[in-house]
């Protein structure tokens, strides 16, 4: 038996384990006098997830010799750079959300926009940094005005 689709296998196993865990959790739901109770529908759903995950695991395996996989070549520098950019985007977004309640929405948004524009942009000259700073300021101010003042939303 060989692994035809390793990603699907990993996903199937993860969903299977998650489904089993959540299925066990359904027994902790208190019952009620209402029809079928609050436990039944979740049990049906998680039961379906478990069964479908098993099917997915099965489909990701194959009997017989393995097919010759399409070997991807080594990542070229351009691809490595864009992968780095994706990670940088996630990291910047995480930090932005984490510090927003601490330093306030406006300042956090300004910082996030400026950092992200600098990271994603190709040019990092003084002129372009000034442009990014100006645009970040306008973005932050506009969002604070629209949501904080016009829509009267309580901002972090």
């Amino acid at each position: 038996m060989t692994i035809k689709k390793p990603l699907d296998l990993c996903t199937g196993i993860a969903l299977l384990l998650g489904g089993l865990f959540m299925f066990m959790e359904t027994f902790a739901i208190p019952g009620s006098n209402m029809a079928l109770g609050p436990r039944i529908f979740p049990q049906v759903l998680y039961g379906a997830i478990i069964v479908l995950s098993l099917v997915m695991v099965g489909q990701s395996l194959a009997l017989g010799p393995a097919e010759t996989p399409n070997q991807a070549g080594p990542a070229d520098p351009a691809e490595r750079e864009t992968m780095w950019l994706q990670w940088a985007y996630i990291a910047a977004l995480f930090i932005y959300i984490a510090i927003m309640p601490l330093i306030g929405y406006g300042i956090a948004t300004f910082g996030f926009c400026f950092v992200l524009m600098t990271l994603l942009g190709e040019r990092r000259t003084l002129k372009s940094l000034c442009v990014y700073a100006a645009l970040s300021g306008i973005t932050a101010w506009s969002l604070v005005y629209i949501f904080g003042t016009l829509l009267r939303l309580f901002l972090p």
Binding site: L7, M34, F94, M100, T109, T139
Partner: protein
């Protein structure tokens, strides 16, 4: 039938017209830019409707939706990249026309075809929606549960990525919808003693995360590849000259509009599929099919009339059954929910004016779309030059505040972040997103109707046997799954993807 005329007439007020004009223009700009979809545009604007009246907010969203679907024509013609999935087939003939110096003509064909397709579906919406809405008033728990099952299986069947993955996505979405207090018993489920989870997972942050952030992460991968933009412009005289040639393409226009409207009505399908189906049909019906793909205007006419016809079609199940016709109309459910209104048959009974307002807004937006494109096509072309690194930063900041806005809750922002990453992973491992999100929206309702139908049947499901409409929906659901499984098994070539086309 039309509700309060005075309330309906607000759609013609200066404020509403100005908002719709801005919405159409904004939608066209978003739709013109590759990677920014109509779904994303609507998702980002839904939180802003919080500060508006429901009618004004919905008018704006309809305008953005109409504009964004049509805007994809610009990048399809000038970049050979569809601005939205609804313009994939437009690329096939619009770009070859642009390469031989007829970009302006190609754009003119697309704009006029979009207008005709939109007007066609407006009339279908106007006459069909009240009939279907009144019919759906007879629905009870049996029909509603069966309808949800049918809608989910329809979406799964059409996506054709993998039936198992589609079903898994739908089940996971419904399971997420059950977190928090149950509707019927007010019993806490899966909250793990967390007050945030006790109040459940809100739909809007998940929608924004799954459709906006995941898409942005895909686009960031291509951010270093510059666009090569063709020059294009057309004058009003040229546009009218092109419009006059449409009499030779009447059959194609009508057929594609019918295809677009019909596909738009199917839950979860929408313009992403209709443009391809209409194009394929036009090509096979043409006397000279080999001319398609080489700059045949009929290819553009088929694609663009179908995708705009789908927008009106997609509004029909949203308004009459409460089931979204596509991902963008699914976002509009968020706007309804913000204002505490449930789209569906009860909307016709309790708020008929809202239905009429949306219908008229669709008509006005379609007309505005034509006029704006005729006058401002140069501006839309310029929009393609907006630096993406600036655009993506601003959009992300808007996503964050949009996720926060509904409940003023940082938990929602973290949900947005987590689902954004989850959405990207789903794209990478070929999991369809739409069934998951639809499952999240309808999970709680599906359980309520499921349990209610059990009670109504005297603590059994035998009541379904006396409800032919429910049985038809359930049979259609089973049939769609079976056909999909059979088709996927027989298929030798990779199925066409209707989501996340990059």
């Amino acid at each position: 039938m039309f509700g309060d005329i005075g309330q309906v007439m607000m759609v013609f007020s200066p404020l509403t017209m100005a908002v719709m004009l801005a919405g159409v223009f904004g939608g066209l700009v978003v739709g013109a830019m590759p990677g920014l979809t109509s779904t994303m545009a609507v998702a980002l604007l839904v939180p802003i409707t919080y500060g508006m009246t429901m009618e004004l907010g919905l008018c704006m969203l309809v305008a953005v939706y109409v504009g964004a679907i049509s805007g994809g024509l610009v990048s399809a013609t000038l970049l050979n990249i569809p601005g939205t999935p609804s313009s994939v087939a437009t690329c096939f003939d619009a770009y070859p026309m642009a390469k031989r110096g007829e970009a302006g003509k190609a754009l003119a064909y697309g704009v006029f075809a979009s207008f005709i397709g939109g007007i066609f579906s407006f009339f279908v919406l106007l006459f069909m929606a009240p009939v279907l809405g009144n019919f759906a008033l007879r629905f009870s728990s049996y029909e509603y549960f069966a309808l949800v099952v049918f809608a989910l299986t329809c979406i799964i069947s059409v996506s054709r990525k993998s039936l198992v993955k589609g079903l898994l996505a739908a089940c996971i979405g419904m399971a997420l919808g059950l977190i928090g207090l149950s509707n019927m018993d007010m019993v806490s489920r899966f909250s793990f003693n967390s007050p945030s989870l006790e109040s459940g997972i809100d739909v809007l942050p998940v929608l924004i995360g799954m459709y906006a952030v995941s898409q942005l992460m895909v686009e960031i991968k291509a951010i270093r590849k510059p666009y090569q933009i063709m020059e294009a412009d057309f004058t009003t005289r040229e546009f009218i000259a092109v419009a006059k040639t449409f009499r030779h393409s009447i059959r194609n226009l009508v057929r594609s509009s019918i295809i677009g409207t019909a596909i738009g009505i199917l839950p979860g399908v929408g313009p992403g599929l209709s443009n391809i189906v209409a194009y394929a049909r036009a090509k096979s019906a043409d006397k000279n099919p080999d001319s398609y793909g080489r700059g045949n205007p009929d290819g553009i006419i088929a694609s663009e009339s179908a995708n705009n016809a789908s927008t009106g079609g997609a509004l029909i199940p949203l308004l009459t059954l409460g089931v979204p016709g596509d991902a963008s109309t699914m976002m509009m459910i968020g706007a309804f929910m913000i204002h505490g209104v449930q789209p569906g048959p009860l909307l016709f009974r309790d708020n008929p004016s809202v239905v009429m307002i949306i219908t008229l807004a669709f008509l006005i937006s379609t007309i505005m779309m034509l006029l704006v494109q005729m006058q401002c096509i140069r501006v839309l072309v310029k929009a393609l030059s907006i630096p993406r690194h600036i655009l993506y930063s601003v959009i992300t900041a808007l996503c964050v505040i949009g996720s926060f806005a509904l409940r003023s809750n940082m938990f929602d922002v973290w949900v947005f972040f987590a689902t954004g990453i989850a959405g990207y992973i789903m794209v990478k491992i070929d999991f369809p997103i739409l069934p998951l999100v639809l499952g999240l929206i309808f999970g709680s309702m599906a359980e309520t109707e499921f349990r209610s139908s059990y009670v109504l049947g005297g603590n059994s499901f035998s009541g379904y046997l006396d409800r032919p409409i429910a049985l038809v929906f359930l049979a259609a659901a089973v049939l769609s799954v079976v056909i999909s499984a059979y088709t996927i098994r027989r298929s030798k070539t990779p199925a066409m993807d209707t989501q996340d086309l990059t």
